[in-house]
Symmetry: C2
Subunit: 338 residues, 2 copies
DNA sequence: TTGAAAGCGTTACCAC
DNA sequence: GTGGTAACGCTTTCAA
């Protein structure tokens, strides 16, 4: 499979190289006859334009850079739907996705932009205050943030509305007559990295609990895994309440916690209530199916990509904070209202 | 943040453009003094070489193409460790990863190779007989397969040794005195797509059972999810055996099956045995911790990348089939030997 | 040890 | 509606 250039196509079609280019890009009217012959030649040679040359000449790569939280010692559960959706949308717009690991820090962003490796960048897993933001904001390549940092530096942000998520959870527990709430903290590494959504959720939960006149206790950071879940269950068991409502914002602590509660004879949905923040798929497959506020990684990603392509077409689009509204689905872990 | 070229660096350092290039590549001896001045200039301009231009001139992209099974309606659980490891290794070798979704089929491979988007391709999620192989084998860009198809078309293959995995599982159940075995089939979509490892595992399991003189029953394809697991549990409950050993090769049916068995009062590790094929991490976090044969996605990926870079350095390296040996870890779901 | 200059394969401007 | 040609920014051969 030897590789042909647009020159070969031009020769075979009996036209100039520029005509070949214009046929492919559609940036100039071409007679039907010429187009036919060029397309035919392209077909016969299975010609593919060289990406490097094209990028060099056109200043466009048709590549989206995606900075993923790999190698920063962070739990990557739940990341796949983001990557999958971003790659899918990119493809429908004839773009590819270049993966950059977050362990490079700002250097990765500088490289992506400086070397013109992509036309736009998606940056996720943001800390509330994140070193990379200053770099990202000063780069020629447009950057979309998934997450809402304290200061977005004028960049576009897309994320789940974590505050609304907290309000939904607390509201549901209030409506079903709970007299006491517990909020399970995120694992220490998450808290320590001060990921932006942790705060957004916790603050709103506290505010909502206040608004409903409900006492809310924060069960300090719970680690991943079975042991930690047991500890948390023990602390929950010690809480004195008529109807206790537990809110669990870290998706992958939900299942272990349900188990640990069960093991203590505390059945969620019978003896106390649990609402988790996790995707509908995960909530439905949990044991038992857990009442949840949805995480919607696909919607968030889709929206981020829409913003990205809008920005690529119109660089003047005003920056905005775009929040996806989660929804609550009642399953089996919340006590029915009195 | 305006962007500089190597010409700017050359001017600032008072050398020629080619010298800048040679300083960066190390392909020619440079005097210390010159090198210092060039590096200094690079630093002061925060110069980054343009990737397109570099690729065009050098015929090298420092990009690895990764074809992932997105958008083909296949379950992507367990994919993340592959992507993560591949991206990580790529970075240590100064390469980036370009993600291509499998829904493009052979077209994706043709595009990757034809446009010179990458230096090498990793193809995963192979069917036993896969359309894409013929294309992949005839492309200028070297292709590494993760998986072992019926005919590798001369390409390098890396994968877990699924046959050995089956032998380990069956051997353990034989050694612990089981008199009857059941093999849970993969979900229909997996079987239907005829993914290469399904067959490799099942055939070896059958052979091993024969060798141990144990009857092995295949519980026909079980779908994902709670309901399907219940059905499988019912069928297992109906099997007459003194000591029944169950082998579950589809990682994400393990946990639902454990639940379903428990719900029927059949406690794995007490009333019957279950060995799953899943990562050690997943096995340890399962409820209860499940005796497992490890999947080792990271080792497989790492090995694939080693092969890839070896191939990039020496295109004559003979193709080989490189199988990673799984290991068995005893946890709580296998009856102790008699 | 260094420099000059010829490509690499496109795109897009300027002519016609 | 089409062709010629100058960029694009780098690598690498050829010369010195």
């Amino acid at each position: 499979m030897s590789t042909f250039t647009s020159k070969d196509v031009a020769r075979l079609a009996g036209v100039s190289q520029s005509t070949v280019s214009y046929v492919m890009s559609g940036k100039r009217p071409i007679s039907d006859e010429t187009r036919r012959r060029v397309l035919d030649a392209i077909d016969r040679l299975t010609y593919e334009p060289n990406a490097g040359a094209r990028a060099l000449a056109s200043q466009r790569t048709t590549v989206v850079g995606l900075v993923v939280p790999f190698g920063v010692g962070v739990d990557t559960t739940g990341l796949l739907p983001f990557i999958e959706t971003i790659a899918g949308v990119a493809r429908t717009r004839d773009h590819d996705v270049l993966l950059v690991t977050a362990d490079e820090g700002s250097a990765g962003i500088r490289r992506l932009a400086g070397r013109s490796l992509c036309d736009a960048i998606i940056l996720m897993d943001l800390q509330t205050v994140d070193d990379r933001l200053a770099v990202a904001a000063n780069v020629r390549t447009p950057v979309i943030l998934i997450g809402v940092p304290a200061d977005p530096h004028g960049m576009h942000c897309v994320d789940l509305d974590f505050a609304e998520a907290a309000r939904l959870a607390v509201g549901e527990l209030a409506a079903t007559g709970h007299d006491r709430l517990a909020l399970i903290g995120h694992p220490a590494d998450i808290v320590h990295r001060d990921l932006n959504y942790v705060r957004r959720f916790a603050d709103a939960a506290r505010a909502a609990a206040d608004a409903h006149g409900l006492p809310l206790e924060v069960i300090a950071p719970v680690e991943w895994g079975r042991e930690a879940a047991r500890g948390a269950a023990a602390r929950l068991a010690a809480i004195e309440a008529r109807r206790l409502g537990v809110v669990v914002p870290a998706s992958n602590t939900v299942q272990p916690l349900l188990h640990a509660l069960n093991a203590r004879g505390l059945v969620p949905g019978r003896d106390l209530s649990v609402i988790g923040l996790l995707t509908d798929a995960a909530a439905a497959e949990a044991e038992p199916p857990v009442t949840n506020v949805s995480l919607e990684p696909r919607d968030v990603s889709r929206r981020a990509m829409e913003t990205l392509f809008r920005l690529l077409e119109d660089r003047t689009a005003p920056p905005r904070i775009d929040l996806i509204t989660p929804k609550l689905t009642r399953r089996q872990t919340v006590l029915p209202g009195p």
